[in-house]
Each structure stands twice: as C-alpha cells, then as structure tokens.
C-alpha cells in the first residue's frame, strides 16, 4: 500500500504528457490532486525510497500534515476545476497546464515529504514552476513580476539549500524531518532557513515579490499561489526548526515582531492600492504575518500541540478564504456577478476579518487564547486592531472588485466555475461544521464575550469605512505613489546583466599593429646581427674559453 504515495506527486507529472499531446485530456486535468486526497483518507504507511537518495521517505507524519494535504489537494482541485473553464479559450493553455501540474506535484510532494531532501525537491519544483504561472499572461506587468519572482525564488532556493545542508550536517547526516525537531540549530542555519522560507512565505520585509506576482497570474493560479503555495514557507519553517532551542528563544521576539509588523504593514500598504488583486495580495502579506506570529507561539508555547493546531487551522482557513477571493476577483473581471454572487464573495472576506460563526472567528479566538496563555496578554489589543484593519482591507478589495466589473448584464457563472468558486466561498462557513477540530474552536468562539470581542472591531471598522466614504477622506492618498523597491531592483539587475563590459581581450587594432611592427623591426635588427655570424660565434666561444681559463 505504501507505494501508493508515489502516486501523489507522480499523477500530475504523468498527466503532463496527455496534456501536451491530447487536447481533450485538459478537461480532466483538474482531477490531478485526487490521489492525494484519496490517500489522505486511506492513510497508508509511509514509503521509504532509498533508491532516490538515502533517507527519502514519503508519508503523513501527523494530523497537521493530513489536514494540510487534504486542504491543499482540495484547493488545487477546485482551483483546477475553475481553471479548466477559465482557461478554455486561452491559446497558451498547454503551457499553463504544464506549469500548473509541475507546481502541483511539487506542492504535494513537499506535503508528504518526511525527509529534508524530498521537501526541498518538492519546494523547488513548486517555486520554479510557479514562475510559469506568474508570467502566463505575457504582459509587461506579468513579465516584470515574473522576473522579480524568479530572482527572489532562486535566491530563496539557494538560501534554503544552504540551510538544508547545514541542517543535515547538524543532524549528523540524518535527513528525517522528525529527527530534526530535536536537533539544536545554529545561527547560520537559522538565518538561511528564515530567509529562504521567508522569501516564499512573503512576510515583511521579504514580501516584495508577492504583491507583484500574485495579481499578475491567472485567477486560478493566484488562488493556489496565495492559498497554498506561500504556506509552504511557513510549513517549512515549522518542519525544519527544532521545537525548542535556546537560540530560537532569543530570536522569537524578533520573529513575532516581524510577524506583527507584517500584519499591519500589509494592511496599510494594501489600503493604498488601486487594484483589487494587489489589495488581496497585500492581505496575504498581512495574513502571513499572523501566521509567522502563530509560528512563534508554536515555538514558545508550553503546549505546542495546541499552538500547532492553531497554526494548521489558520493555514487552512486563510488558504481557502484567500483562494475564494482570488477566484472571485478573476471572475468579476470577466463578467458581472448577480447579487447572490456578491453575497457569496463577502463570506470569505468576512471570514478573514474574523466574523463569528466562520472559520475566521474560530481561528481568531483560538489565537487570542494562545496569546494569553503565552503570557503576552498585552498583545490582545493589537490583535483586535488587526481584525478591524483586516476588514478594512478586504472591504477595500471588494469595493475595488465591484468597480472593476465589466458593464455588461450580470450573468450567472457556468456550472463548474460556480461550483468550484462557490464551494470555496462557503467553505469558511461550512468547514467549521464538518471538521471536528475547527468545530471545537468555533464553538469556543461563540461565547458572548468572545463574540463581542470579535464583533466590535468589525463594527468599528465599518464605522470608519462609512466615515471615509462619506467624507471622501481617501482623496488625500488617492494620488500617492508608493515606491516599489523590489521591481526597481529587479529592473536594475536586468539592465546590469545586459550591459556588457567592453571585451578586455581585444585591444584596438592599431595598437596591435604597431606592436607587431615594432617587434618585427626588432627581430630584423637581431637577424642582421646574426648575419655576421661567424664572428659572433667565435666571440661566444672565445668568451667561453676565457671563462674556462680564468
């Protein structure tokens, strides 16, 4: 049974061939993550693959992994279904599917990897393939975003590679991720890993590629990028870092700080954006900040299991909600939605802001509990503020979406699209009822106190919005142009590479000629000296003889 794990990453890969050569197969491509989902339910033993590299092992170590696998497979499945119809008219869809499948394969592989190398392989495959998704449209903006993405992804890869090496070395050659949990970590390793994974996860200040890349990709791709892929960074950190370590202890405040900064930075900058998908992307930056913060909790908490649960729930929650929003954003650019469509769209948005009865509410409450338990009660207020700001941000996103609709008559989306998108939209509401862990969290959040704690920031935010819209406060920052250091750097790098230094090994022709001529003249003079040959020879000999005599 264990060999079935092979199917998880291989199914997408094997599907590549029919995709390329058999047009009609594309219609079923979205089923590629299915084996992963099935296996998650079957839960066979893990598979050892010494033939790949020593210590290779695929399987599901714990429930977190299981949940993530199911959720990721589900997100990819639904986004895939969306994409089948969304991309149907695209002339370059074969390329899209190629990269889609590659990225999918990588994403699934990293989830089932139980050893560092497999994780890295999957991670790389996913990162690099996503490039194809980012630049898919081929527009200038997409190409720029893609370039930046790739540049940073490669750097991330290399940092990660170094971190991985160092980690393996620290573990004495052991590649098992489980074993690393108990192995102390060095500073260099930690920095490498933080930067490497951070670049993927996209928290501040490593986020610079994210707001450019996610909006550029096709909607389905944005959905998996923001929903599934950036989580790989957080997952990687949690897998690679040891559970408790003195060194980590020193770093945690910093990480937590970064997380929180990221959370608010995303909001502030996001609010200033004028494109819906960009706003959503900044929302991702903000949410990843929370995730990083949660991760620090996991690493400090007395009961890591609970914090771990929080992390898992948060990941799933954000993934689904953000996936739904991105798909929706894609949808509204193509057609006008009917009203119930907007109602659906509001669900994930509110969930993100932490509306009670949604997954968001559950997760936020759980988060506050954990923060309190961790003895950082002073941060509760900040988190509350965070909820309010999140609502502001998603509202801004929805508002922008509304305004970017085409001016046609509203139509209902086609069934598969509707199905996939709709499922994702209601997931934040539905999921708490279906998933025991989440259900428990949601029920906890339904107490009056907790509900109020969740609601009042939302109300505050709504009030604020009303004020802003009423008094057109936004006009003060409407023409504000934010610097884009990332893109700037990327462009500069490209230009630097394309301006070539003058070739040093080709001196000017005249200089060469004159040297040759001079040398030739010198040689002639020597030759002339040699013509009086015999005398020269005799002189040489005479000197030699004299030398001998003396």
């Amino acid at each position: 049974m264990a060999w079935l794990w092979l199917l998880v990453p291989l199914t997408p890969l094997l599907l590549i061939l029919p995709t390329l050569y058999w047009q009609r197969a594309t219609r079923w491509i979205w089923l590629a993550p299915l084996p992963a989902g099935v296996l998650a339910l079957l839960q066979p033993d893990s598979l050892r693959l010494p033939g790949l590299w020593p210590g290779a092992r695929w399987g599901l170590p714990d429930d977190t992994a299981l949940a993530l696998l199911v959720f990721t497979a589900g997100l990819w499945l639904l986004a895939g279904l969306f994409a089948v119809w969304n991309q149907a008219a695209d002339s370059r869809r074969r390329r899209f599917w190629l990269f889609w499948l590659l990225a999918l394969s990588g994403n699934l592989l990293l989830l089932i990897a139980q050893d560092g190398a497999s994780f890295y392989v999957g991670f790389t495959l996913m990162s690099l393939s996503a490039f194809g998704l980012v630049i898919h449209s081929g527009k200038t903006e997409a190409r720029r975003a893609g370039r930046l993405y790739l540049q940073l992804a490669i750097m991330g890869e290399l940092l990660l590679f170094m971190g991985l090496m160092l980690r393996v070395h620290e573990a004495g050659g052991d590649m098992e991720l489980a074993a690393w949990q108990g192995t102390p970590i060095g500073t260099a390793t930690l920095i490498c890993l933080l930067l490497g994974f951070g670049l993927k996860a996209g928290f501040w200040p490593l986020h610079i590629w994210l707001p450019a890349a996610h909006p550029a990709a096709p909607p389905a791709a944005s959905a998996v990028l923001s929903g599934a892929m950036i989580k790989a960074g957080i997952l990687g950190l949690s897998r690679f870092l040891p559970e408790s370590s003195e060194l980590i202890g020193g770093w945690l405040p910093l990480l937590a700080g970064i997380g929180l900064i990221s959370a608010f930075f995303g909001v502030v900058v996001g609010l200033l954006q004028r494109r819906d998908k960009t706003v959503l992307a900044y929302s991702s930056v903000s949410q990843v900040g929370y995730l990083l913060f949660v991760l620090t909790l996991v690493l400090t908490a007395d009961t890591p299991a609970l914090a771990g649960l929080l992390l898992m729930l948060y990941v799933v929650h954000h993934g689904l909600a953000k996936g739904a929003l991105f798909l929706g954003a894609g949808l509204v650019h193509e057609q006008r939605l009917p009203r119930w469509g907007w109602a659906l769209m509001a669900l994930p948005a509110l969930a993100l802001a932490g509306l009670p009865l949604t997954s968001g509410g559950a997760v936020k409450t759980l988060l506050k509990d954990q923060v309190e338990q961790a003895g950082m009660a002073q941060l509760i207020g900040v988190l509350t503020l965070g909820s309010a700001s999140t609502l502001l941000l998603v509202s801004r996103a929805l508002w922008l979406m509304w305004h970017s609709q085409p001016a046609t008559r509203p139509t209902a989306p086609r069934l598969p699209v509707w199905l996939s998108w709709g499922l994702l939209c209601i997931a934040p509401v539905l999921l708490p009822w279906l998933w025991p862990e989440l259900r428990q969290a949601m029920l906890n959040s339904l107490s009056i106190y907790a509900s109020w704690a969740l609601l009042w920031p939302l109300l505050l935010a709504t009030l604020l919005m009303a004020v802003v819209i009423r008094f057109r406060v936004y006009r003060y920052w409407q023409h504000l142009r934010l610097p884009q250091p990332g893109l700037r750097f990327s462009l500069w790098a490209r230009r630097w590479l394309q301006t070539r230094p003058l070739s040093a090994d080709a001196p000017s022709l005249s200089a060469q000629m004159s040297t040759t001529v001079r040398l030739r003249a010198l040689e002639r003079r020597w030759n002339r000296l040699g013509e009086d040959v015999v005398s020269v020879s005799v002189w040489v000999i005479a000197l030699a003889v004299l030398w001998l005599l003396i």
Binding site: L49, P50, G51, L52, W53, P54, A56, R95, A117, Y120, V121, T124, L125, L128, G132, I135, G138, R143, L150, I154, M155, E157, L158, L159, F161, M162, M165, L166, V168, H169, G173, A188, L497, R500, P501
Partner: protein, 503 residues
C-alpha cells in the same frame, strides 16, 4: 594471457581500430564508415558492460607491457576508472550518432571520424591508465587527437582556437610530464593505489613532493580549466558541436579533472595531502574558478561561449570536491564527473541543434525557439536546470554531496561558493530558458534548414540530432532521480571513495 588482462586493451582498441580504418576510407563510403563507427561504439559499450560486471564481482582487469624502466604501460580497470570509461563509452555512442547527423554531407568526414575515434581511444586509455606514466602518455595523445577536431572547420577562427588550444594543452602536458618524471626518478611509477603510494616511499621529502604536486596540478589543471589556465576552452568553441560536446563533457576537461583525482587520491593520498597541506590552495583556486567562470559566462552573448564558460565553472566542482579531502565531498566530486558530463553534453547537443536547424548562434536569437523546437528546448532545459542544481536533475546530487562534504571537513565557506555559483548559473541559464520558452517567436524562421519534417515535435530536426539530446537529457534526469540505486554513478563514486578513504 587470460581474458581479464586483455579486456582493458580491447576496450581501447574497440575505438582505435575503427578509427584507423576510417582514416583509409574515401569520402563517399558513408555506409561503411557509419557502420564502423557504430559497431565500434556498441562493442565498446558491451565490453565496458562486461568489465563493469566483472569489477562488481571482484575480478581484476590488468594489462601491462613494458615501456620504460620502472614504468610499465598499464591499463587497469578499477571502480574509479570504470566510472569515467562508462561515461566515455555511453557518450561516445550518442555523440557518434549525433555527429553523423550533424556532419551529413559535410566534407572531410573520414578525417573527422578518424580523429574522433582516436580521441575517444585516448580518453579511454587515460581512464584505464594504471600508473602515472601511462596516464601522462594518454594525456598527451588526447591533446594530439583533439587538435584536428578543434581546427576541423579550417577557418581563421578555428585555426586561432587550435593554436591557443595547443599552446595551453601542450604546455600543460609538458608540466605534467615533468611532474611525472620527477616522481618517477624518486620512486618509479608504481600502480595507482587507493591512498596513494608516495607517503610510504617519499613521505618526508617535502620540497620534491610539493614541486611534483604543483607541476602535476598545473599540468592537469590546464585541461581541467582551472582559473589561470582556462583560456583555451572558450576559444575552442569554434569547433563543430559534437566536438564541443565531446571536449566539454567527456574527453578533454574530464581528462584533466580525472588527472587531478588520480594525483590527489591515488598518487599522493589523502593523508599525505593533509600532512603537507597541499590541498588548501587548490581548494581556493577551484572555488575561485567556479565563481569566475560563472561571472564570465554571464557576459557572453554567444550561446556556445556561454556554455563554455559554464564548463570552466562546473568542472571546478570536481576539483573542489576532491580538494576538500573528505569522503562525502569526494563522492560529490567524482559523481559530478559523470553528472556534468551528461548535462553539458545535452546542452551542447541542443546548442548544436539550434545552430544546425535554425542557425541560431547568439543568445538573443533564441526567442521563441521553444515553440519551433520544443523537444530540443526541453532537453536544454533539463540540462540547464541541472547545471543550476535544481532537483531532481543530476547536478543537484553533486551539489548536495559537495555541500555536505564541505561541512563535514569544516569548510563552511564552500557552501557560499556553491550557493553563489548556483545563483550565477541561474542568472545566465534562466534567461536562455526564458527566451526559449516565453520569448516572442518570429513569424517565420529566417534560416530554417528544414531538417526532419520541420514541424515541432519529433520531426523538429534531424532525428540523429534530436535523439542523442533527448537520451542524454533523460539520462541526466534519471541518474539524478535514481541516485540511490545500485547502478547509479553515485553508488560507483561511493564505492571508489570507500576504497580511497579506507571506509
């Protein structure tokens, strides 16, 4: 004389004899020539297979004839040499097929294939060389056999390249020869043995040992394209693509790298190297070359030149691996010998395909070529990603072992070198891939030779040009994915290293 002692000789002869026969053929005897070529290549693969089997089963293959006092001419098949021999045999087959397709209708093919076979014979001889004298001998012969290939086109540029090539390699050969004689005068030329033979015999003569080491490294470093000695390689790019492929992937640069391996492990030995602290400068040099080659590659506009500088960089991985003097790094170095071969040969095949099919030589002309020649471009992509070190292509495995090996011996900074090189590799390879796949394709290709059917897919170019590239790309992928299996190069490298380090 039993067969085990004849087999090494036969392996050499299996390309030498066809080569010499080919010289005598007329230009128009195409079929006979092709047959000779292919029969030779296949026979060699079979013989090498037999030898692999034998070595795995503990047989000893040794052929010796007297040559100079205390220095016999010895051909010997051990794990290390077989790794190189196998690479040569396999790549010879593919390159032969490729060359037949590449040169179809070109003049002077008999001469070309004759020297081609001689070149491979010299490489195999060098791989099987059982002592330093034999090694140096084949090393020089390799230079000679390669020169006509480099200047084969007979243009001014080719001649210039040929002259530069000779200036470097003959100079290096002479230095290596001096080193060999120096050691020979002290202790004769005993067989290469794991752990080296010098410590037992010449352990305390520091000056001689250092001088010999410097001479040998300088000598072999020329072909291995170590930093100040690499100048011939990029200019030698004017040769026809199969030659570049052979030069860069198998024959010449690997001969140099292999020489370094032999010198460090089987002549000096790790203990002696550590004792004399000889490896550190070499390590720095290799590290510098890795970065230097990559930086230079970055600024090339010509596809083949870029690949050439990439070779400069990549071959130094091997040097780096062996200079680290640790078992894991050694595995990385040795396995890169094969891995780099597979990947680089793929890249050159592909570059040749572009040049032959669409007359693409400059990088800026690559735009959209992936749509016209997707399979070639795919093979190219595999090779390029492998060079960067992207898993699961073979290059990743090498890098992995190199990195771990560096950490093992405490040379953590090497990790930065590897990462830096990976970054640079990405910087100069990814734009190619980008142009190929995503660049805007011209509406029609101005110089389309219409090889094959002329349509994307299996007929995108001549099948003899396409299939070798696909095969080697596939192999590069395969040996990366299946690195842990018994038949992989990695395993052979491990085997060798176990012997060398007495594990």
């Amino acid at each position: 004389m039993i067969w085990t002692s004849l087999l090494p000789l036969l392996v050499v002869l299996s390309s030498l004899v066809p080569g010499l026969l080919i010289f005598t053929l007329r230009e128009d005897q195409v079929r006979l020539r092709t047959t000779l070529n292919l029969v030779g290549a296949v026979v060699k693969i079979l013989l090498v297979g037999l030898m692999l089997w034998g070595v795995a089963n503990g047989l000893e293959f040794r052929f010796a004839v007297p040559f100079i006092p205390n220095g016999d001419l010895v051909l010997k098949g051990d794990a290390l040499s077989l790794q190189f021999v196998t690479l040569s045999a396999v790549l010879w087959l593919t390159t032969t097929i490729y060359a037949i397709g590449y040169l179809e209708g070109a003049p002077l093919r008999s001469r070309f294939f004759g020297y081609f076979s001689l070149c491979v014979s010299a490489t195999v001889g060098l791989a099987l060389a059982g002592n330093l004298v034999t090694f140096v001998l084949f090393y020089e012969l390799l230079t000679l056999a390669t020169f006509p290939l480099v200047v084969h086109r007979g243009t001014a540029a080719a001649l210039r390249a040929g002259r530069i090539y000779l200036a470097y390699t003959l100079g290096g050969g002479t230095l290596a020869l001096l080193g060999a004689v120096l050691l020979h005068t002290q202790v004769g030329s005993p067989a290469f043995i794991p752990g080296g033979y010098l410590q037992a015999t010449l352990g305390d003569d520091r000056v001689t040992l250092t001088l010999a080491f410097v001479l040998l490294i300088a000598g072999f470093g020329v072909k291995a394209a170590l930093f100040p000695l690499h100048g011939w390689l990029p200019t030698a790019m004017v040769a026809p693509a199969p030659v570049s492929a052979l030069l860069h992937a198998v024959a010449v640069v690997k001969a140099g790298a292999f020489g370094l391996v032999r010198v460090i492990y089987d002549v000096f030995g790790v203990n002696l190297m550590t004792e004399l602290d000889l490896a550190t400068p070499l390590l720095w040099l290799a590290a510098f070359t890795i970065l230097y080659g990559s930086v230079r590659a970055l600024f090339q506009t010509d596809l083949k030149r870029r690949l050439a500088f990439s070779t400069v960089s990549q071959v130094s991985y091997i040097t780096l691996g062996i200079a680290l003097l640790g078992p894991i790094a050694a595995v990385g170095g040795l396995v890169h010998l094969v891995h780099q071969g597979m990947m680089k040969v793929t890249l050159f095949y592909c570059a040749g395909n572009f040049a032959e099919t669409l007359h693409i030589h400059k990088i800026r002309d690559l735009d959209g070529v992936g749509r016209r020649m997707p399979l070639t471009m795919a093979a190219f992509t595999v090779g390029a990603l492998g060079m960067i070190g992207v898993p699961p292509v073979a290059g990743f495995i090498s890098k992995w072992y190199l990195g771990l090996g560096a950490l093992e011996v405490g040379a953590d900074w090497v990790l930065l070198v590897l990462a830096g090189s990976g970054l640079l590799n990405a910087l100069y390879f990814l734009p190619l891939l980008y142009r190929g796949w995503f660049g805007p394709a011209p509406t029609h290709w101005p110089h389309d030779e219409k090889l094959g059917t002329g349509r994307p897919g299996l007929g995108e170019t001549h099948w003899m040009l396409l299939w070798p590239a696909l095969t080697t790309a596939f192999l590069a992928l395969l040996i990366g994915i299946l690195a842990g299996t018994g038949l992989s190069p990695l395993n052979w490298a491990q085997l060798t290293v176990n012997m060398e380090f007495d594990l």
